[in-house]
């Protein structure tokens, strides 16, 4: 009985994970923009591989195999967003063209593309006070 439940759950997880990975491949091929492709790549493919590893963990009745598979799932879920974020940041920095059907680019003008840092966002505060000249920079009372 337990074995039958194990097999059914494992087969369902395998099929779900494989369909998600196939969806990630189709999304990589068909979506129009690097950022949209990256959303398919990051979410669908990490969830698909996580489901396949969980299927292995359910199917094996050994604690060593289960621990390895769960460690693989944790590793995948920790590293996929970091890698995707870094690739997206690099693509935005080097000026990869965006999709022409895009509505709003909220990062436009906020990045200092020469130094690769985020420029000041709070424009009202910086225009209200003159920029400090002391060693503390923007602190208004730094001269006293």
């Amino acid at each position: 009985m337990i074995g039958l439940i194990q097999e059914i759950v494992s087969a369902a997880l395998l099929i779900i994970g494989t369909l998600l990975l196939l969806l990630a491949g189709i999304g990589i091929l068909r979506l129009p923009d690097i950022f949209l492709r990256m959303s398919a790549a990051s979410k669908a493919s990490s969830l698909g591989a996580g489901c396949v590893l969980l299927a292995v963990a359910v199917s094996a009745a050994d604690i060593a195999i289960t621990v390895r598979a769960v460690a693989g799932v944790l590793f995948l879920f920790l590293t996929a967003p970091v890698a995707s974020h870094m690739i997206g940041r690099a693509a935005y920095m080097i000026g990869v063209p965006l999709w022409k059907g895009m509505v709003v680019d909220e990062l436009k003008g906020h990045y200092d593309t020469r130094r690769h840092t985020l420029r000041g966002v709070d424009r009202a505060a910086s225009s209200r006070q003159p920029r400090g000249t002391g060693p503390l920079g923007d602190v208004p009372d730094a001269g006293r």
Partner: protein
């Protein structure tokens, strides 16, 4: 039974899931497109190793899957770092 499903259904679908990003890897207009395609291919390779461990009852393939995931992560990070620093 699950071995038969994995052998005759899961592995062909996963090979299609590897073959689709290859087209993007060849055609991709920019470097980050190719890096993202390689990332998806690496994740599908992890799934193939896990399925192979399930078919053959060989838990050593899970370690290989972990190593492939680590190498793919480091490769993606390195590509992103040097792409951003190049300009």
């Amino acid at each position: 039974m699950i071995q038969m499903i994995a052998l005759w259904v899961i592995l062909p679908l996963l090979s299609i899931a590897i073959a689709l990003p290859v087209i993007r890897l060849v055609r991709g207009p920019s470097l980050p497109d190719r890096v993202v395609a390689l990332d998806v291919m690496g994740t599908a390779v992890i799934a193939i190793f896990a399925t192979y461990a399930l078919i053959n009852n060989q838990p050593a393939f899970l370690d290989a899957a972990l190593v492939v995931g680590l190498i793919g992560f480091i490769g993606t990070i390195a590509f992103a770092y040097y792409t951003e620093r190049r300009i």
